[in-house]
Subunit: 190 residues, 2 copies
């Protein structure tokens, strides 16, 4: 049996990674979604091993120490990361797995897993991205400006990715990603 | 405007390249099909520039001399080849072009056009390929054996290609090739 392929879906904050990933999961039932580890407390209804692998701070730091995470980051006081073990076991079983992560995290994964396929989700335009960030309606102007400048920096990192997919319509973006998955399975070098 | 992409569809004789290519053309109207040059005489209903570019032997030899062919071969006393000019003009106009050619010809194209995307069409199995070659019902056992041994040699050249597509069902093979076309357009390096 051939091994599965690791697909990493990333892109600037606000581009719609989560929405596209959820839509893809609905369409491709055989695609496994990577479960992150986190030190934050479970919210109502969240299950260990389904929504997240819930870890204590000590457990998480041990995982970092033992190279058991493909990437990790700290966000508002909690750690988040991608357990290597879950990814490797899924690939060994012949199934594809998809990771939806931030741009910096994806570059960490690329170092540890150069055989992965790195997909960068792009906004149709910077104006459109600004609309989407503003559209959340939860942030003031300084925060919006800061997030836009971070997004522009992140977009410049696209050159490290294999594919760039424009998220104009969720359905079109999903179809492009589905095509990338099919094409990667046809590659002779695999 | 971005340039088009050259797709080369090849594979062993009997694998169904022509059938798959015709089916693709029916589905993807924007895909341009490369027109070959030949020294053979036009058959009834064949138009110059549509079915073939009809050339005299002298014209054809001049084209070889002037590097105006991406590949060429002689077959039962006539020359066949792929005019470079038609391919380059199509790509410059932003359209994709597909070439359906023999394995050796495809490798000649690769030398002159390394930016092309090389797709190898595979039979589901060698038994299936033998059935298809025999199924034509026009050849004796020695010819069939010879063609099978050529096919096995040709399949060993697949490593020089980018993608391998199994032609189990024409419709499935077409969908895989369509996915490859979409995915190649998403590649960051383009």
């Amino acid at each position: 049996m051939s091994k599965g392929i690791l697909f990493v879906l990333s892109g600037p904050s606000g581009v719609g990674k989560g929405t596209v990933c959820t839509a893809l999961r609905g369409k491709l039932s055989e695609l496994v979604y990577s479960v992150s580890a986190t030190t934050r407390s479970p919210r109502l209804g969240e299950e260990d091993g389904v929504n997240y692998f819930f870890k204590t701070r000590e457990q998480f730091l041990d995982m970092i120490q033992n190279d058991q995470l493909l990437e990790h980051a700290e966000y508002v006081g909690n750690y988040y990361g991608t357990p290597r073990d879950f990814v490797e076991k899924t690939l060994e079983s012949g199934k594809d797995i998809i990771l939806e992560i931030e741009v910096q995290g994806a570059l960490q994964v690329k170092e540890k897993f150069p055989g992965g396929v790195f997909i960068f989700l792009l906004p149709p335009s910077l104006d459109e991205l600004k609309d989407r960030i503003q559209g959340r309606g939860t942030e003031n102007q300084a925060t919006i400006d800061h997030r836009m400048s971070v997004a522009v920096d992140e977009i410049s990192l696209m050159e490290h990715y294999d594919y760039g997919v424009v998220n104009d319509e969720i359905d079109c973006a999903c179809k492009r990603i589905e095509s990338i998955i099919v094409a990667e399975h046809c590659k002779v070098k695999r």
